[in-house]
């Protein structure tokens, strides 16, 4: 992969995304679209860690929830959203860094990594659920146990606590954030750091023999993934106006993994599209009572593991690649538009 086509592909994706993001409010309410975008961002964080770093994290929800809780707690104490917003990214970043350091410097891999991340998420879930009493408080913010934390300051224009960002404005803010994050991640992956990360995924021993410290690099990548998930959590906190321990639940972690699997690993667009598609499916299914929501999601996961092990976006990309007689990997990134069109239509 040379540098130039990547820039071209990235710009094409960004352009297509901007067009779709501007057109989408004609089809769906911006309120729904906003949460779909937040899911997309969350899926991208795992797509980065898992698809490019080869680190299967069962606990991406931990960073998501941590971001949301950090924001909510800081917002109650400070009453203005700029610093809480930064904390919502920083806290999960640091936590993911610590957890990653513990795991990767201990040379843990695959299943054991899965167990540890899962367990950490569960610890958060159990702990947050048990914090109903008034003795559990950080500053003025009571953790609230099962009921979560309501009634904090949502996002406002920096420096002006009364100028809330909500509704359409919030939607366009999230669109802009997704654009920036996507561009930054693409840049990260195109940098030497990103290339070595992919090399570690392919063959860790070989990369280490070449003199790179795989442990440090995996930890750093894991921390970046944690920061993006935390950002998604922060935005969620502002969107939902309440944070509950459900953010840390196994179901939430499962959903993120399903998004990535269905969308396709090894791309950033894939998980994003997967999250938007399945998020919308869940939303549509939530409006009927005939079939249980969980049942459908489970079926989607089973069938996609069995039939589409590479995910929707890479598979589509491969078909297009065959049709155009181009290299499938390049084509895959250009296939954003039809897949998402399906979600909106």
């Amino acid at each position: 992969m040379s540098g130039r086509p990547q820039i071209g592909a990235t710009l094409a994706v960004l352009g297509a995304f901007v067009l779709l993001a501007l057109a989408a409010p004609a089809v769906l309410e911006t309120y729904t679209l906003t949460i779909l975008l937040i899911y997309g961002l969350l899926a991208m964080s795992l797509g980065l860690v898992w698809g490019f770093g080869g680190i299967l994290c069962f606990g991406q929800a931990a960073f998501y929830g941590l971001g949301a809780y950090s924001y909510a707690i800081a917002a109650i104490n400070l009453g203005e959203s700029t610093l809480p917003f930064a904390l919502g990214i920083l806290v999960p970043f640091l936590f993911a860094g610590l957890l990653g350091a513990m795991m990767f410097y201990g040379r843990l891999s695959d299943v054991y990594l899965g167990v540890i991340t899962l367990v950490v998420t569960l610890i958060f879930f159990k702990f947050m659920n048990s914090t109903a009493g008034p003795e559990y408080a950080i500053g003025q913010a009571r953790l609230g146990g099962f009921n979560g934390i309501p009634g904090y300051q949502t996002l406002n224009v920096p420096g002006d606590p009364d100028a809330y960002i909500f509704g359409d404005d919030f939607y366009y803010l999230v669109v802009a954030i997704v654009l920036v994050v996507y561009a930054l991640l693409r840049w990260l992956l195109a940098s030497p750091f990103g290339r070595v990360a992919v090399a570690i995924r392919e063959n860790e021993a070989r990369v280490e023999l070449m003199g790179y410290d795989a442990r440090l690099r995996k930890t750093a990548l894991f921390a970046v993934g944690g920061a993006v998930a935390g950002l998604a959590g922060t935005l969620f906190a502002s969107w939902a106006e309440i944070v509950t321990p459900g953010l840390f639940s196994l179901g939430q972690s499962a959903e993120i993994i399903i998004w990535c699997i269905v969308g396709g690993l090894g791309t950033l667009v894939g998980p994003f599209v997967g999250a938007m598609l399945l998020g919308y499916l869940k939303f549509a299914l939530g409006q009927q009572t005939l079939i249980d929501n969980t049942l459908v999601l489970g079926l989607v996961l089973v069938l996609s593991v069995l039939l589409l092990p590479r995910g929707v976006v890479p598979t589509l990309g491969q078909w297009v690649g065959l049709a155009r007689r181009r290299r499938p990997r390049r084509a895959s990134r250009r296939r954003l538009r039809p897949a998402r069109g399906g979600a909106d239509g």
Binding site: D110, G114, V119, A254, V305, L306
Partner: protein
């Protein structure tokens, strides 16, 4: 003195529960390297099978010890044929497919039984030790867990079927060359693992209020116990269940049940950090 007795019984009880809920997963993971994340839902299915059978007038012991394992074993058989069979050797894919399966089962249970709590009462009455009340059913679970371990060991180490199964897990091609069909061995092993999960679900049915999402509370513990145990099925299961049972019960006793649960999880993280191959990766190597 009374307190000490109660504490010891409780510790044995919590070890026994860990053994019971993890046994099915241990067989499937230890023998076949398949991580069945729908294990919790298999337990849930066993619980529902027991409750339905008891409500239909069947004796509760028959329901727990025979109906539940059979029903869940059959579910496992169907699952193995339809899904897992295609994914042997792909650890992560089996994990994900079985996770999807667990969601499907939760959805089905919600549609059939509704999102309400059901339960049956324990068949053995409690009794008092000094000033403390002890649940008589706890002893039953301890006894069943002990019998279960002995039976598993006897089956795997003492019978021809166990020998064939272990041989197939080590070298499937050799077993095939000697005339045993690995496909069939895998199928039977998965059936046995599922039946054990069903048994656990049946045994726990009188202790917990059953909801379709009950499985989630067990899967993590079972998963942790089995992975921390390491490669040896029975010794690994027993050693990690003992360690975690002890830790969680002592912390429950010293502080609160939530602290006990969290202590168990923290112990698991620390343990895996120190012994990344599980307990039997370092100690008791080569045992069954």
């Amino acid at each position: 003195m009374d307190l000490a007795t109660v504490l010891i019984v409780e510790i044995f009880y919590s070890i026994a529960v860990l053994v019971v809920i993890s046994a099915g997963l241990a067989v499937v993971f230890g023998m076949m390297r398949v991580i069945n994340l729908a294990h919790g839902e298999f337990l849930m299915a066993g619980g529902y099978a027991t409750i339905v059978a008891v409500n239909a007038g069947i004796n509760i012991y028959v329901a727990m010890l025979i109906v539940a394992p059979l029903v869940v074993g059959l579910i496992g058989l169907v699952v193995e044929r339809l899904v897992i069979r295609h994914l042997y050797g792909r650890l992560v894919d089996t994990m994900l497919a079985s996770w999807g399966l667990s969601l499907v089962m939760i959805g089905l249970a919600t549609m059939i039984f509704g999102n309400t709590t059901t339960g049956i009462s324990p068949p053995i009455a409690g009794f008092a030790i000094g000033g403390y009340q002890i649940n008589g059913y706890n002893f039953f679970i301890i006894v069943v867990a002990a019998l279960l371990l002995v039976a598993m060991y006897a089956l795997l180490a003492g019978t021809r079927a166990g020998l064939v199964a272990r041989g197939t897990m080590q070298r499937a091609d050799m077993a095939a060359a000697l005339g045993y069909s690995p496909d069939r061995v895998y199928m039977v092993t998965f059936f046995c693992g599922s039946a054990l999960s069903g048994l656990a679900g049946g045994l726990l049915a009188p202790l917990v209020g059953l909801v379709p999402t009950t499985g989630g509370t067990y899967i993590a513990k079972a998963f942790i116990t089995v992975i921390s145990g390491g490669a040896s099925i029975i010794v690994g299961l027993l050693s990690s269940a003992t360690l975690f049972g002890l830790v969680s019960q002592l912390f429950t006793f010293a502080a609160s049940p939530v602290v006990g649960e969290v202590a168990l999880l923290v112990a698991a993280v620390v343990l895996l950090r120190l012994l990344p191959q599980g307990i039997t990766g370092r100690f008791f190597r080569g045992r069954l």
